[in-house]
Amino acid sequence: MNSKDQQSDETSDSVGDPFAEMRALLAYAGIRPPDDDLGSLARLHPGLLRRVERMHSIDTGDEVQAAVFRADEHSAGGC
């Protein structure tokens, strides 16, 4: 099985299974919690997603384009 197939299998296994989705999500970050913690995080996830969606529903227009990096000289780290 090539890596693409393997990824496809893992995805199909996890779809609709919050526990498996959480396991896969955290594995990408190098974290493999025990099942009881995974269960707790899987229960917290929908609420977090709702809050994230609320952020994306706010019209920020063109007031700012992204997180801002300032190369100014007024901060202590400046020239």
Binding site: G30, P34, L49, G77
Partner: protein, 463 residues
């Protein structure tokens, strides 16, 4: 024995007490109260008494370093000091991290003559809840030891409220200076982001963290902030500005001060009737004192509050990622579950949170301009100190903490005592100002404390 930094500074110069006597009294108080209240993770009794004797010798020789000369302080144990390790109240934190010793902020306090009494309790890495499964003291509230102090600057708050030291340092990422100040009946100030250097402090949310002074009164916080404020090259988030003597700006009255009273429904919905009655009384007192009162709706208030918690989780995750992978079981459960949620927030999500943050910040400032107000006020929390078990779920919900929006904007915000609820527990009044208008926030807090005596309340468990 003096209760405040202001009173101690006066008594020391009047010869009514020495720095050594003051420190010795505080050591005695810790001997009696720390075991019950869980104030300290480490005490530096010998070093403190030595520093106090040196402070006495300097005063005797005519060298006076200012209001903090000989003043005993407690330091939250995520801030490194010369005396000992920094544990972050965690089994994960490497012992050698604290070996770096004083950062610029601690060096400033020490140069101002402060006496470091010890390192105070927090929640693990300043997140989560009190964790009874770990081998650390549980910080208890001097007004009722079955109640929590609030966090995460827990030991600093209960140490001041119980008379084990006169001031101290807390850190505030979502409210961790203001919340324990409110729960314990003291004053606490979150400075403008960029005013106080954070080098030497373990980060939680890198762009939401603030180190702030905690003490009994706004005057005491102003004296501490005067020493603490100022840019340092070791912290590139700090901003170079003219130095300010925050004590000299304490006019003592509210005449011609326009105050916006936050009336967002989200706050009303998450605040008890008892707390709201106390808050309305505080607003009435300020009006009696000459303030002009305006009703104020904070734009994007809930988005700022929710964005703070999500972004701090993402930022904390960035700092803890490698250790979470290798030491998961050694973290306390509340801590690891909180930080791991940062892995669920995508890069795109974080960018949007940051965009909302910046838009909200501009809209709040514009709304303040349009209303002509210099500060905003709200209850610091919706409920007073919560019990360790059996708490009303509304009282322990994140919505009942009215502080995190101001970590999003980075505006200065402080909590001062404003009365007691139906259970005789302290309630906090939050005062919020424009960026770098810390002097105005402290001025309003101090003027309110000239109108009221809530800050003089004595907790049942006290030295």
């Amino acid at each position: 024995m003096p209760w405040t930094i202001e009173g101690a500074a006066r008594d020391l110069r009047a010869g009514e007490i020495t720095c050594e006597q003051l420190t010795a009294e505080m050591v005695d108080a810790a001997d009696r109260l720390d075991p019950e209240l869980g104030t300290y993770l480490a005490r530096f009794d010998d070093e403190a008494l030595l520093a106090a004797r040196q402070a006495d010798a300097e005063l005797a020789s005519g060298r006076d370093r200012g209001p903090l000369h000989g003043i005993p302080l407690g330091i939250k144990d995520i801030i490194a000091t010369d005396e000992g390790p920094t544990t972050a109240q965690s089994l994960v934190q490497p012992q050698e991290w604290g070996a770096q010793g004083d950062g610029p902020l601690m060096a400033r306090l020490r140069d101002a003559g402060a006496v470091v009494m010890g390192k105070t309790t927090t929640m693990e890495y300043a997140v989560g809840r009190p964790d009874f499964t770990k081998p650390f003291p549980i910080p208890r509230n001097p007004w009722n030891p079955d109640r929590w102090t609030g966090g995460s600057s827990s030991g600093t708050a209960n140490g001041i409220a119980s008379g084990q030291f006169l001031g101290g340092l807390g850190t505030d990422t979502g409210g961790s200076v203001r919340l324990p100040a409110a729960y314990c009946g003291i004053s606490g100030h979150k400075p403008t982001f960029g005013l106080v250097p954070k080098s030497g402090c373990i980060p939680l949310g890198l762009s939401y963290d603030h180190i702030g002074p905690m003490a009994r009164t706004a005057w005491d916080c102003a004296a501490m902030l005067t020493v603490m404020a100022g840019a340092d090259p070791s912290d590139r988030t700090t901003v170079r500005r003219e130095r300010v003597d925050y004590v000299s700006g304490l006019s003592g009255d509210l005449a011609a001060t326009s105050i916006g009273v936050i009336r967002n429904q989200a706050i009303a919905d998450a605040t008890s009737e008892s707390m709201m009655e106390v808050f309305d009384g505080a607003v009435a007192d300020m009006a009696t004192g000459g303030a002009k009162i305006e009703s104020f709706e904070v734009p994007l208030y809930e988005a700022m509050a929710e964005g703070t918690f999500m972004a701090l989780q993402a930022e904390a995750f960035a700092w803890h990622r490698s250790t979470l992978g290798t030491k998961w079981p050694e973290y306390g459960r509340p801590t690891r579950l909180t930080i791991a949620q940062g892995a669920m927030i995508s890069a795109g999500d974080l960018v949007q949170i940051e965009r909302v943050r910046q838009v909200a910040r501009h809209r709040v400032l514009k709304a303040m301009d349009d209303a002509g107000v210099s500060v905003l006020v709200s209850p610091t929390t919706g409920y007073a100190a919560t019990p360790f078990s059996g708490a009303d779920p509304k009282a322990v919900s994140m919505a009942a903490i009215h502080t995190p929006a101001w970590n999003s904007t980075g505006f200065p915000a402080m909590s001062v005592p404003m009365g007691f609820d139906e259970d005789e527990l302290p309630c906090g009044l939050q005062i919020i100002g424009r960026p770098f208008a810390d002097a105005e926030v402290l001025r309003v807090g101090h003027a309110y404390q000239q109108l009221t005596n809530w800050h003089e309340g004595v907790a049942p468990i006290h030295a």
